[in-house]
């Protein structure tokens, strides 16, 4: 895909915008996702250390709008930390993280980032076990999420329909009123994906979304993700190579906190450095 040259870098555009913005050709709207350069996520030189351990080491990565990207890498490569940085859970020690051209992720809180359009699915399915599947989706639904609205919120017919539609899509329409804690593992995974869909995010971060799923469920998940790509951008962290192959997107290999290789799956799998990392030295 497109090589990012110095000129196209979102932060360069950003600097220009803040310096006046008259010659960039379009106004900067604070808080709004700007995809004018067709890049939805831009990480540059990100480093994160925990007690001296470098979880991320000058990581640079860009994701195009509408892209479906797979991230693979051995344990401890920094995949989850990278998602933590993108979603505002962890602040990088150095480096830049932008959502679109203008939104500086390192200065936003988790709820702000969620509102801007980044949805995250955790490695371990985290759903609200004591709420029904329906309520889980209701809570995730894109809406005004301030206290004073939640106090008086009531579902409209449209909203009910949307929840019902997502329930059908994640095949939980018959489990709508079941407590989420009573669903099977695979169903919980799907419910969490459904919650992501309800948020209507632009970028979905999916941490091992098919862990614990049956082959059949895995296959259907791959179909779902492929159908989402284009209208959404997806970043999928996964160990299951068959699943990565089924997704068919570009693959980035992380190792020791930085990018080791990038390209389609076959190229990456043929890369001697990748083989060394995976098979040991």
């Amino acid at each position: 895909m497109s090589a990012v040259t110095e000129l196209e870098r979102p932060d360069a555009a950003d600097r220009e915008n803040w310096d006046g913005g008259a010659n960039t050709g379009h106004p900067v709207r604070p808080g709004e996702l700007d995809l004018s350069h067709n890049v939805i996520l831009y990480l540059d030189d990100i480093s994160v250390s925990f007690d001296g351990f470098r979880a991320l080491n000058k990581l640079s990565l860009t994701i195009d709008a509408g892209e479906l990207r797979c991230i693979i890498g051995p344990n401890g490569a920094g995949k989850t930390t990278m998602m933590d940085v993108i979603t505002g859970k962890t602040r990088p020690d150095s480096g830049k993280a932008y959502f679109g051209q203008t939104l500086d992720l390192t200065r936003m809180t988790e709820p702000q980032i969620a509102h801007a359009g980044i949805g995250r699915k955790f490695q371990k399915p985290t759903i609200f076990e004591h709420h029904t599947a329906f309520e889980n989706l209701e809570l995730a639904m894109k809406a005004d999420k301030r206290v004073r609205r939640s106090l008086f919120a009531a579902l409209s017919d449209d909203e009910r329909d949307r929840i019902a539609e997502v329930l059908r899509r994640i095949r939980l329409d018959r489990e709508a009123d079941r407590l989420a804690g009573l669903l099977s593992h695979g169903q919980k995974q799907w419910l969490e994906i459904g919650m992501l869909l309800m948020q209507e995010p632009r970028l979905l971060l999916l941490d091992e979304p098919v862990a614990g799923m049956t082959d059949d469920e895995t296959e259907r998940t791959a179909e779902l993700f492929v159908s989402l790509a284009g209208s959404h951008s997806l970043m999928v962290v996964e160990h299951d190579m068959a699943f990565v192959e089924a997704l068919g997107g570009k693959v980035t290999v992380l190792c020791e906190g930085s990018v080791l290789a990038e390209g389609d799956l076959a190229t990456v799998q043929a890369d001697p450095r990748v083989i060394e990392v995976y098979l040991g030295r």
């Binding site: 989850t80 859970k89 988790e110 969620a114 955790f122 609200f128 076990e129 709420h131 809570l139 009123d177």
Partner: protein
């Protein structure tokens, strides 16, 4: 079409709940006043002044228990400092009661007796407005509310949780108690306020005033239950319970837990303040021992005994423990603390869902299909609830799915 607010308010409580409330209102507003005021003392159904005051006091405790349950049972935040908010409300209204004594105190002075005793010549600035009933009521809500808001803002913003939060609230009420023990603080030192004479010019010890205070306590309790029920069945309540179960997930779907916790926390403190304001004229005294850490822990015990996460459980718990207490402190006063401690341990070990949980279990045991009574929410209208397997109604005790524990994967 969206369901209108009033309909949702009515739907927030099951029919049985409304019927129970109506019966309660009938007893508290008609039955007991009649039995106390109209029946002669010789009549077997006469309710004595002692009983009316005791019941009024317990009603105030029940309000505190509901407030506690809203923040502990539904938001998962255990406060061991709710006695502070209760006492602050009591002190705020107590200031007014002290001013209503007028010149009938032992010194016959304009100032409250303890100030004369300290040789103070005028009221401290913060006693300004204390001769106004409306200001006293406002203060009884606003003072605990403000303190809770400021404290909660910093605590929740710093993401202080669990046992750490509990310990800090415990320290807070302890520090306040020490402060109020000092004579210089201007609230009567360790004697606090007492010897009240009047409210709005009417004698505080008259049977009519006693009955009125009792009826108002009952009204406050019912209002708290309706409000609480609405809150926990609203989307707000569902978000709150979601924060309790998986806070980071809630953040990643775009809610700010700080605001939700802070709202519930502050509201809970304000309800405690109102309860305190009604409590003080009924017991006739307020002193710093109300702020002692043990008092706040006792509030948690009430809720635990009744069953947290259910409003009716909080009410029952406060009632049961306090009736036991008023019996035990007469029969064997020195053993009461041990008994209370034993009760807490026993409930934690054997009745994790309190009396309400026990009752549900018994009922589920009797019927072939357990009844799915979900304490936290009603299912969306138009849907039916599946019968749940036993144990599924115990929401707080399953390990909360704390998301993404390992930061460095």
């Amino acid at each position: 079409m969206r369901t209108p607010f009033t309909v949702r308010l009515i739907q927030s409580m099951p029919r049985g709940g409304w019927i129970a409330l109506a019966i309660f209102a009938l007893v508290a507003w008609v039955g007991i006043p009649f039995a106390h005021l109209a029946l002669p003392e010789s009549h077997p159904l006469h309710v004595s002044a002692y009983t009316v005051s005791l019941l009024g006091k317990i009603l105030c405790y029940m309000v505190v228990a509901v407030a506690m349950d809203l923040i502990w049972g539904y938001a998962g935040i255990l406060s061991l400092g709710h006695g502070l908010f209760f006492a602050l409300g009591g002190y705020a209204f107590g200031m007014y009661l002290m001013r209503q004594i007028g010149r009938d105190g032992s010194y016959g002075a304009d100032l409250p007796d303890f100030m004369v005793f300290l040789d103070w010549k005028e009221l401290p600035w913060y006693w300004g407005g204390s001769d106004s009933f409306a200001w006293a009521l406002f203060l009884a809500v606003a003072a605990p509310g403000l303190i809770a808001f400021v404290f909660g803002y910093f605590a929740f913003r710093s993401r202080i949780k669990g046992v750490y939060f509990s310990i800090i609230t415990q320290a807070l009420t302890y520090a306040a108690m020490l402060l109020f023990f000092r004579n210089e603080t201007g609230f009567g030192g360790n004697n606090g306020f007492t010897d009240f004479k009047r409210i709005l010019g009417y004698a505080i010890t008259s049977p009519e005033m006693r009955t009125l205070l009792f009826a108002l306590s009952a009204l406050l309790l019912m209002a708290c239950l309706v409000l609480g029920r609405y809150l926990v069945t609203s989307r707000f309540g569902r978000v709150l319970a979601a924060i309790r179960d998986a806070e980071s997930r809630v953040m990643f779907i775009g809610y700010n837990p700080l605001h939700y916790k802070l709202f519930m926390w502050t509201l809970s403190a304000m309800l405690c303040g109102l309860a305190g304001a009604l409590y003080v004229p009924q017991v006739g005294i307020i002193n710093p021992s109300e702020m002692s850490p043990a008092n706040s822990i006792e509030i948690a015990v009430w809720v635990a005994v009744g069953g947290r996460g259910t409003l009716v459980g909080a009410v029952l718990g406060a009632g049961i423990v306090n009736l036991l207490k008023s019996w035990a402190t007469v029969s064997f006063p020195e053993y009461w603390p041990f008994f209370l401690g034993f009760l807490f341990i026993a409930v934690t070990l054997y009745l994790p869902d309190g009396v309400v949980g026990l009752w549900r279990k018994l009922r589920a045991g009797r019927k072939a299909a357990p009844v799915a009574e979900q304490p936290l929410h009603t299912p969306p209208p138009g849907s039916t609830t599946d019968p749940l397997p036993e144990g599924a109604t115990a929401p707080q005790h399953a390990a909360p799915a704390t998301a993404a524990k390992g930061a460095a994967a």
